[in-house]
């Protein structure tokens, strides 16, 4: 990330491309094995999306992007916030309940709702942070448990505050006032639907994430802790405080995940609100290597696969869940490929250093005795 070099770029692109190829082959093999129409499946998935679907891809990616950034913040310091899923549900519920009250006029209501959601997500995440720092409980375990608890809590609260429409079987929070609904941006020509206004929020979050992680002292401490906790401690990083701060930041970002959906699509939180976004974020952050642009590419890919797979049942007669296989295989392949390429990178650089040193001091004896 520090310096640009063609070699680095090549290595960075090689892994995802490799993973896509592997995913293509494995999925084809599975389809063949099951006797499903392989050609139709790929034709459907790889066909150029209609403008309407392009909007859906961008919208889906917006939500995924926020989720993956929330996860990535933790990943950068080796903190595994598996609880983004629970955090965003608690947050979007809190936000939707708040926004539905319409205590404030239009845009201010949106702004304050976003704040409320971030606070709710952060607070929920702080439970896991507290457990890790004070009680030594792995955040992986506690956040998974908190996801289950979040489901129960949100459902219980939803039943308390829900407004039930006559004749409806679903329940949801009070819809947000029309003045606070965000109509969307007509970014894609020829589409009747619109891109979420809050894509701007995702862009802002991405830029801030990049800046804070790479350019600030806090970001340096965070990355140092991720690379070597022992070295970070020796350098003066207060790791417990970093854990708390990062976990809460991750939770607050998780609080944003549902906002584009709330203001641009659902207008309330109810039983049909999109689920599982936090888990998707984990995979997308891995695929995007926690890099703001990498995550954007991964989120678009994920969303592309989601939208394109929708037509599978109708056009190819194959359950659209096949896309889960593709996504799963991509993840597996990419994680393996990244590790292989990371090792290759380290080796190549060590050899390059050795070569360049040998070249500059060809008269000097062996540079070192031993590493052992």
């Amino acid at each position: 990330m520090s310096t640009f070099s063609p070699r680095k770029l090549l290595l960075a692109v090689a892994a995802p491309v490799l993973a896509l190829v592997v995913a293509f082959l494995v999925t084809s093999a599975i389809l063949l094995l099951l006797g499903d129409p392989v050609v139709e499946v790929w034709q459907t998935i790889l066909s150029w999306p209609k403008p309407r679907q392009l909007v859906q891809i961008v919208n889906g990616a917006t939500v995924y992007y926020l989720s993956a950034v929330a996860v990535a913040v933790g990943f950068r310091m080796n903190l595994f916030n598996i609880g983004v899923d629970g955090q965003y549900r608690v947050a979007v519920f809190a936000g939707a309940a708040f926004a539905g009250q319409a205590w404030f006029p239009g845009p201010l209501n949106v702004l304050l709702t976003i704040v409320v959601a971030m606070v709710a997500g952060g607070l929920w995440a702080s439970i896991a942070a507290y457990l890790k720092v004070r009680r030594g409980i792995s955040e992986v375990i506690s956040t998974i448990m908190l996801n289950a608890i979040a489901t129960g809590v949100v459902q219980w609260l939803l039943l308390k505050v829900a407004v039930k429409q006559q004749g409806s079987n679903s329940i949801s929070t009070k819809p947000i006032p029309e003045s606070s609904q965000l109509d969307g941006l007509g970014l894609i020509p020829g589409a009747t639907n619109k891109v979420y206004t809050l894509i701007l929020l995702a862009v802002l979050v991405g830029a801030l994430y990049w800046f804070v992680i790479n350019k600030t002292r806090f970001g340096f401490d965070l990355r140092a802790t991720g690379r070597s906790e022992s070295a970070a401690v020796a350098s003066g990083v207060k790791v417990p405080r970093m854990v708390v701060t990062t976990m809460i930041a991750s939770g607050a970002l998780a609080g944003l995940i549902g906002m584009p959906l709330l203001f641009g699509q659902d207008h309330s939180y109810g039983t049909t609100f999109q689920a599982g976004l936090g888990f998707a974020g984990i995979g997308i952050a891995l695929l995007g290597r926690n890099h703001p642009l990498g995550i954007a590419a991964a989120a678009l890919l994920w969303s592309f696969l989601d939208v394109q797979s929708n037509a599978l049942q109708i056009r190819a007669g194959v359950a659209s869940e096949v896309v889960f296989i593709i996504q799963g295989v991509i993840l597996f392949a990419v994680v393996i490929a990244y590790e292989l390429i990371r090792r290759a990178d380290v080796r190549l650089e060590q050899q390059r250093v050795a070569r360049e040193l040998a070249a500059t001091r060809s008269d000097a004896p062996t540079p070192e005795g031993a590493t052992a």
Binding site: R52, N59, I325
Partner: protein, 356 residues
């Protein structure tokens, strides 16, 4: 190293999650069932192309969605409609739901049916965007889905549940009966409410134990036979000897548990003594039939006749939209009592509650 291991663990966990999601497609043999029924197009009336969007569980759930499929198949045979079908993915976004309906229209559908209230908003939105296409939504009568080109088809599930509740109480020897709900939604609570009321009506001292498999927004409870089995086992061990399930595809687990315990179960939506896997059919006391097939068929028939149904249509006992099943003959001895209740409900003498 530690980092790598951890990441691997997370990925594995994520993959397991995906695998779990993916496995739900096992019960959705969409591939084998999707067929453009082009055989009966010579039938009279308008040419109808149906896009039917099933809820989670799909055509193969032996229950709610299966019932809709029966109506569709009948329409294909009688009216020569063509159809395309698709199934909802658990936890998907509203946009994905809408897109599914839109895809049907892109593929030439003239009539689009959303099976289940999860399609309510999407039907409302897509119906507005496609005024020339006719829509039907099952189990929703809210303003969300309302529109000039929308038929809202709902059922009085509590009335049917009342009857099977009475049957359960009359058949129970342990004075305890059970209820397994798929997902704790208001809709399923309607089933529970009717069931309890029916059981209490037949036997005021009866104990009714209820159990739900999942909480919204987790809808896996409609499609998780293992969970259904566990819940039913718990109820049987707790003394219940008849268990009524309103759990869609999870119901097969309830039947398995009943078979293993040598107790009775009550099916839902379809006449499950006919649709369940043959080896468990003998444990099915009766079924609360929710005639989704009738609603679907009516909708398509009226479409073929050019007199499309719009607005809310309630299928209750009176309209023959709900009923109890007599297949297997296990309720023959109490049939007169059940029919008595039925008449009283139709006559309005018994008001069945819709919330427990």
């Amino acid at each position: 190293m530690r980092h790598a291991t951890k990441v691997a663990a997370v990925v594995a966990a994520a993959a397991l999650g995906l695998a779990a999601c993916g496995s739900s497609s096992d019960n959705t043999p969409a591939g084998s069932n999707t067929s453009a029924g082009s055989t009966g197009t010579q039938a009279a009336g308008k040419k109808i192309v149906v896009g039917i969007a099933y809820g989670v569980g799909g055509r193969g759930d032996q229950s709610f969605n299966a019932s809709a499929a029966v109506g569709l198949d009948k329409a294909k045979a009688d009216l020569g409609v063509e159809f395309k079908e698709a199934t909802q993915v658990n936890g998907e976004s509203e946009a994905a739901t809408e897109e599914r309906l839109q895809q049907f229209i892109d593929a030439g559908a003239t009539h689009v049916i959303g099976v289940g209230f999860a399609y309510a908003k999407a039907i409302g939105t897509v119906a507005k965007a496609n005024p020339d296409v006719k829509f039907a939504i099952i189990d929703d009568a809210s303003p969300d889905s309302a529109g000039a080109n929308v038929a809202q088809l709902t059922f009085a599930e509590e009335q049917g549940s009342f009857l099977v509740g009475a049957a359960a109480a009359l058949k129970s020897k342990t004075n305890t009966v059970g209820f397994v709900g798929g997902v704790a939604t208001d809709l399923i609570k309607k089933f529970e409410a009717g069931y309890i009321a029916g059981a209490k009506a037949a036997n005021p001292s009866i104990v009714v134990k209820s159990q739900y498999l999942s909480q919204p927004p987790d809808f896996s409870g409609f499609n998780d036979p293992a969970k259904g089995k566990t819940a039913a086992e718990g109820l049987y061990q707790g003394g219940a000897d008849v268990v009524y399930h309103a759990a869609g595809g999870s119901g097969s687990g309830v039947f398995t548990a009943a078979k293993a315990a040598g107790k009775l179960a009550i099916g839902v939506d379809s006449d499950q003594a006919l649709t369940a896997t043959p080896d468990v059919r003998d444990v099915i006391l009766t079924s609360m039939i929710k005639k989704v097939d009738v609603a679907v068929y009516d909708f398509l028939k009226s479409g073929a006749a050019g007199t499309d149904i719009t607005g809310n249509k309630v299928y209750d006992l009176k309209a023959g939209g709900v009923d109890y099943a007599t297949t297997g003959g296990k309720v023959d001895d109490i049939k007169s009592k059940l029919d008595d209740y039925k008449q009283k409900i139709i006559a309005g003498e018994i008001k069945v509650p819709t919330a427990p």
